[in-house]
């Protein structure tokens, strides 16, 4: 039953084109756009000693996580609530929470595919090494994705309509982009701004994934912050979620 829901939800998401576009095309565009610039594969002082291609691989992964969690997830769930999809399911033997689970699994899966593609394509096209602290990278990526998905679920829980869902999602998304270092790399930010980054889930996620890629253990405080977001937002979403 959950398998069927997953399969059909997956087919619908692929049909809508937006998921594959954001999960793959945008991160790849970032990787190639910056990766083809001169010296992109050499360690850069401006990026704390990391190469541009490695940096873009992490950034692309983080942005895809944020789009999937903060824009796609609330968009679909609030649309389902508005159309009465969740309500209609309440009148069947299956709980609508199965649909929620399926959406979380699909978005998490899309995020995992993005991360894998960034590693593989980075290696194939630019000779980028795989994350040197692979276990740490995995942990940081999973925590970052969980924290963002939990936030996205919370947005889905509190917004009344699909339109409001998109508005709140975007309101969270664009500052996240800034704090993630899309416009100015983290390493170039003033210290106070860095401190702000460190307490956001995407900022903490990208910093941890970069550390792990370079072979360092991420800051425990950064991992803890993501875990706190994941737990608190999940609990709040579970409490506040309305089926109709």
């Amino acid at each position: 039953m959950l398998g069927k829901i997953l399969a059909i939800e997956f087919r619908m998401r692929m049909r809508e084109v937006l998921t594959p576009l954001f999960a793959l095309a945008l991160p790849l565009a970032l990787l190639f756009g910056f990766g083809l610039m001169p010296d992109a594969t050499k360690p850069s002082k401006d990026l704390g000693g990391q190469s541009t291609t490695e940096y873009m691989a992490v950034l692309g992964t983080g942005i895809a996580f944020a789009i999937l969690s903060l824009i796609m997830l609330p968009g679909v769930l609030s649309d389902y609530r508005e159309r009465g999809v969740l309500r209609r399911m309440r009148a069947t033997p299956v709980r609508p929470s199965a649909l929620l689970t399926a959406q979380l699994v699909i978005n998490a899966g899309a995020g995992a595919v993005t991360a894998a593609v960034m590693i593989v394509v980075g290696a194939a096209a630019f000779g980028t090494s795989a994350p040197r602290g692979f276990g740490w990278f995995l942990l940081a990526a999973v925590l970052c994705l969980l924290a963002l998905l939990a936030l996205g679920s919370l947005v889905s829980a509190v917004v009344p309509t699909g339109r409001a869902g998109n508005a709140v999602g975007s309101l969270l998304f664009f500052p996240s982009m800034f704090l993630a270092g899309v416009y100015i790399p983290y390493d170039q930010m003033p210290r106070t701004l860095q401190r702000v980054c460190d307490v956001t889930p995407l900022g903490a996620g990208i910093r941890s994934m970069r550390d792990a890629w370079m072979g360092h253990a991420p800051h425990p405080s950064q991992l803890a912050i993501m875990a706190v977001y994941a737990v608190v937002a999940t609990l709040a979403a579970a409490r506040l979620f309305r089926w109709e």
């Binding site: 039953m1 069927k4 829901i5 059909i8 087919r11 619908m12 049909r15 809508e16 649309d79 389902y80 159309r83 009465g84 999809v85 309500r87 209609r88 399911m89 309440r90 009148a91 069947t92 033997p93 299956v94």
Partner: protein, 304 residues
Amino acid sequence: MAIIEVDGLTKRYGGRTALDGVSFSVEEGEIFGILGPNGAGKTTAVECLEGLRRPDAGTVRVLGLDPQADARELHQRIGVQLQRTGLPGSIRVREALELYTSFYASPRDPAELLAQWGLEERRNTRVRSLSGGQAQRLYIALALVGAPRVAFLDELTTGLDPQARRATWDLIRRIRDDGVTVVLISHFMDEAEELCDRLAVFDAGRVVATGSPGGLIEEATGGGGRMRFRPAGELDLALLAGVPGVTDVRRSGRHVVVTGRGDFATAVTSVLARNHIVVADLRIDQRTLDDAYLALTGGPSPRD
């Protein structure tokens, strides 16, 4: 045996009482109508039966189950069509049926339902591209996919053109003929009169009457109606005044107007025929559920 029993059902939203001591029962194998204007509490009542809302007071039993305590068991055995669509716009017809098939322990064959509801050619169409009538047939098919013993259909024909409405009525009769008890929510008098074996008339959160459409018309208006015609030759009105059921006979210009109860119209026509009186411009206005509704609720019927 009653398949649905509702006794003293009460539901409040904040200070507003949506349902106030509603009681009725539905027999197995019938089409039962829940009729009333928008805001009368029809949908709220049915949602309590479906286990989607918790009543504040009263008892509800559907197939002998408590919709709140035995929700999961109940949902295996009932089929529901809600007012709003309840499907993602990008799901295809076949996918929707397959998805719902996976929800039930002993479902019907989706291919058979596609054929039965005339959706075979549309099997790969996205729900958002279906016509109103096709979408409606899909929602009914989804309500039947679990092989339910009771189907709840809410405002099925709202927004359909007259032809599609007629077609939908035939489909509802087919559901009943397959042995499924149908609970039909409607605010269309003609629909209820045409389809329902029995019905409950809701007004402002109460049931103001229950019975068969014919019984309600008879009870609320005395039944019968009015016939009006132009006799070709001379006609002695006293001839008609004595016909059983006739309550009033009068002339209106060149026309004669006869009012009566029950099956008076048949009696009048046979008297005319027996006396070789040819009539033109014959019109018979039977009492309808509209008239009964008016008499029961003291307000005009809830037309759209």
